[in-house]
């Protein structure tokens, strides 16, 4: 069933065909019912009229016979009546289309009404109200009934016509009933019903087919458009729709193609821009790096010789070195960011064990120098991901440097965990923590929690780390509570996985 409801939801064609079939079935059923009723009425009416006129002539004949019989002796009366019934049933054509019932004389001494009939007719076949009307009133009356013959299990529909006959001599009254079977009409009606049913079914099937064809004609171009749109979405902008004619579909195709062309030109423009920026970054990088190298080397020579310089020059050499280092890291961070912005950053993927990364990071001399105790959690099991080891190292280094410089915590905890989709590494401190929206703003470029506290650093580390994580299809998220501490969780997806559900959840989350 779910596949049917899915088909219903997803396929316009299925919906069009189904509703067309349902509606046309309803219409055909209504028409058929009306037609059948009309035909039935017509058939029965004409049969009834014929039956009544046939019965009338029979009544006249019977009356004449009765007149003749009554003049003879009473004992022969019953014989005459039997003969009459026989002759009535025998007369008019080879095949009898009716049965006869004769009741009477209706008033006899022993009170029993003798009944004669042309066949073994079930007494219930005569409607009692008709019988009583005929006995008490003169004239011709008729009813519809079910004609049952003893020995036959099924009843046939029939019309029964009855009339009172009076024997002129004795004054005896008789009731004579003609029962005309409607079986022929019933058969005709059955035939018509069958024909209508088959015709209706064929009609529904054909209408369904037509609906399918027509909806396909409309939907095929839409489906083509969808397939082409999907190709655009996957980056292939070369595809165009075929335009023929001037109808709505053609106009849709034209607009579609215009959209694609405009998208393509926009993308080309952006690609050019990006290429220009990349080129610029590369040039700036090269042009700046050569003089910076010279200055760095010169500064190092001066710094190494500071013992031989006078105090002011020695201090200057120190400042020169420190600030050059800062300048260098700032330049390299800016170039990295601009490479991210230009979309020029590339990954060198390798199999990386985050647990090993954590163990190595814990041995960073920066931590020992700052007198920080490092706790490792979950690093005894490997947590393998496909990643660029240099970028991962850089992220972890940045997170640790951040914790050392700004948290004021003397303990840092590095945890590693993995699930089916991804592996996570968290760096947690128990220092000043993060308040308000700081957990988002820490990733802003040049953002500092306390502008007065600039302990070196470029203010770009976390921004770059987040870009590095994103380049892997992963995430870097910050959590924290003021006065309690903060936690940064890096999540890298495994091959074919996604970083939607990090393997670690922050205690501050």
């Amino acid at each position: 069933m779910p596949s049917i409801s899915r088909l219903w939801r997803r396929s316009i064609q299925a919906r069009v065909v189904t509703s067309t079939i349902l509606l046309s079935t309803l219409v055909i059923m209504l028409t058929g019912w009306w037609l059948l009723r009309d035909v039935a009425d017509g058939l029965v009416d004409s049969r009834r009229t014929a039956a009544i006129s046939e019965a009338r002539s029979g009544f006249d004949y019977a009356k004449a016979q009765l007149d003749a019989a009554v003049e003879s002796e009473t004992t022969t009366q019953s014989q005459a009546l039997t003969q009459m019934v026989d002759s009535l049933t025998r007369s008019r054509g080879a095949k009898r289309t009716y049965e006869l019932v004769l009741q009477g004389p209706l008033v006899t001494n022993d009170g029993e009404v003798p009944i004669r009939s042309s066949a073994a007719i079930d007494p219930d076949s005569l409607p009692s109200d008709l019988a009583s009307t005929v006995r008490s009133e003169t004239g011709v009356y008729w009813r519809y009934t079910d004609l049952g013959l003893t020995g036959k299990t099924t009843n046939d529909p029939a019309v029964v016509v009855g009339s009172q006959l009076r024997a002129p001599g004795s004054g005896d009254t008789y009731a004579l009933f003609y029962l005309f079977s409607l079986t022929d009409q019933q058969d005709t009606l059955d035939l018509v019903r069958r024909a209508l049913l088959l015709g209706g079914l064929a009609m529904v099937v054909m209408v369904g087919g037509v609906a399918w064809l027509v909806s396909r004609q409309v939907l095929d171009p839409v489906r083509l458009a969808r397939r082409i749109a999907e190709r655009y979405a996957s980056g292939n902008l070369e595809q165009r729709m075929h335009v023929s004619g001037e109808d709505d579909i053609a106009r849709l195709s034209t607009s579609f193609n215009q959209m694609a062309a405009s998208l393509q030109s926009q993308i080309r423009r952006l690609e050019n821009l990006s290429r220009l920026q990349q080129r610029f970054v590369s040039d700036v990088s090269h042009e700046l790096r050569t003089p910076l190298t010279t200055v760095q080397m010169a500064s190092a020579v001066l710094y190494d010789a500071r013992d031989r310089l006078d105090p002011q020059a020695a201090r200057s050499a120190e400042l020169l070195k420190v600030e050059l280092d800062r300048f260098e890291s700032l330049l390299s961070d800016l170039l990295d960011l601009s490479r991210f912005d230009a979309g020029a950053a590339q990954l060198e993927l390798d199999t990386v064990d985050l647990a090993r990364v954590a163990r190595m990071a814990a041995e960073d001399p920066v931590l020992t120098r700052a007198g920080i105790e490092v706790r490792l959690v979950g690093v005894d099991r490997p947590a393998m991901v496909e990643a660029d080891i240099r970028r991962i190292d850089r992220i972890v280094r940045n997170l640790l440097a951040n914790a050392v410089k700004y948290s004021g915590s003397k303990i840092i905890q590095i945890s590693v965990a993995e699930n089916d989709e991804s592996a996570s590494l968290s760096v947690m401190d128990f220092g000043v923590g993060l308040s308000g929206d700081e957990n988002l703003r820490v990733f802003d470029r040049f953002w500092r929690a306390d502008p007065a506290r600039t302990q070196g650093g470029t203010g770009l580390g976390l921004a770059i780390s987040r870009e590095d994580a994103a380049l892997h299809g992963g995430t870097l998220q910050a959590w924290g509570r003021p006065g309690e501490g903060s936690e940064f969780i890096l999540t890298i997806p495994k091959a074919g996985g996604a970083a939607k559900h990090p393997a670690l959840v922050s205690v501050y989350a």
């Binding site: 590369s282 990088s285 090269h286 790096r289 050569t290 003089p291 910076l292 190298t293 010279t294 760095q296 080397m297 010169a298 190092a300 020579v301 260098e328 590339q346 060198e348 390798d350 199999t351 080891i389 240099r390 190292d393």
Partner: protein, 232 residues
């Protein structure tokens, strides 16, 4: 450690930037090396022949003849160690330089200590071998730094010799790329596997019959390299 301390090692610096060239001279000379500077690509070969350097420090971006071609020219003529100076950290450039024959590279800006360490590492001769080493049909002679295979001498650069000696000295042991970087390149490049990969490819092309199906040095997937124990 070193087999010729009697004379000062000579370094040819090829760089178009005058200040950097001069600064490199100052730093390297203060380390007891003899330095010559060449500023254009087309004059490198003349300077090379004349100066006979023990090591070339080559900037990849050169006017005249570009660094990559200079590198190839020098490598065609000599096995002298070449260290590239590059302002780019683009992997493709670095790999191209290594494939052109450079032994090592150093990215600008660099520290003096880093530069000196790399230069020293390339000038140093490893003393892993004291006696000739026979490994199947390959013979390594440490005194003349020559290698023969089936009696035929192989043209290996000093770096390739060191790499081969390192692996063959402990047949069967798997060397990770990290440990090879440490042992052969000296200065530690963390995670810089392309250095090892490029040189391993070239070394194999010289010592293996079929570099696609190596019989001397095997790659151990995800770990590193290993010398296959020769059949007796």
């Amino acid at each position: 450690m070193s087999y010729r301390r009697t004379k000062r090692d000579r370094v040819l610096v090829v760089d178009d930037d005058q200040s950097l060239g001069e600064m490199l001279s100052i730093v390297l000379e203060s380390e007891g090396l003899t330095v010559a500077v060449c500023r254009t690509g087309d004059r490198v070969m003349a300077a090379f022949t004349q100066f006979k350097p023990d090591l070339v420090l080559l900037d990849l971006m050169l006017p005249g003849l570009d660094g990559m071609r200079v590198c190839k020219l020098i490598r065609d003529k000599s096995a002298v160690p070449i260290i590239m100076l590059t302002a780019r950290s683009d992997t493709s450039d670095i790999v191209a330089g290594l494939e052109a024959g450079a032994d090592d590279y150093i990215t600008k800006p660099f520290r003096n200590v880093e530069l000196v360490a790399r230069v020293r590492a390339r000038l140093r001769r490893t003393d892993q071998l004291e006696e000739p080493l026979e490994f199947g049909d390959i013979v390594l002679d440490p005194t003349g730094h020559t290698v023969t295979r089936k009696g035929e001498p192989l043209e290996l650069t000093p770096l390739e010799f060191d790499l081969l000696a390192c692996l063959l000295s402990k047949p069967g042991q798997v060397f990770s790329r990290e440990s090879l970087l440490q042992k052969v390149w000296g200065y530690h490049h963390p995670g810089d596997t392309k250095l090892v990969n490029v040189h391993m490819t070239r070394l194999r092309s010289k010592i293996e019959d079929d570099a696609e199906n190596p019989e001397v040095i095997r790659t151990v997937r995800g770990v590193g390299y290993q010398a296959i124990q020769p059949r007796p």
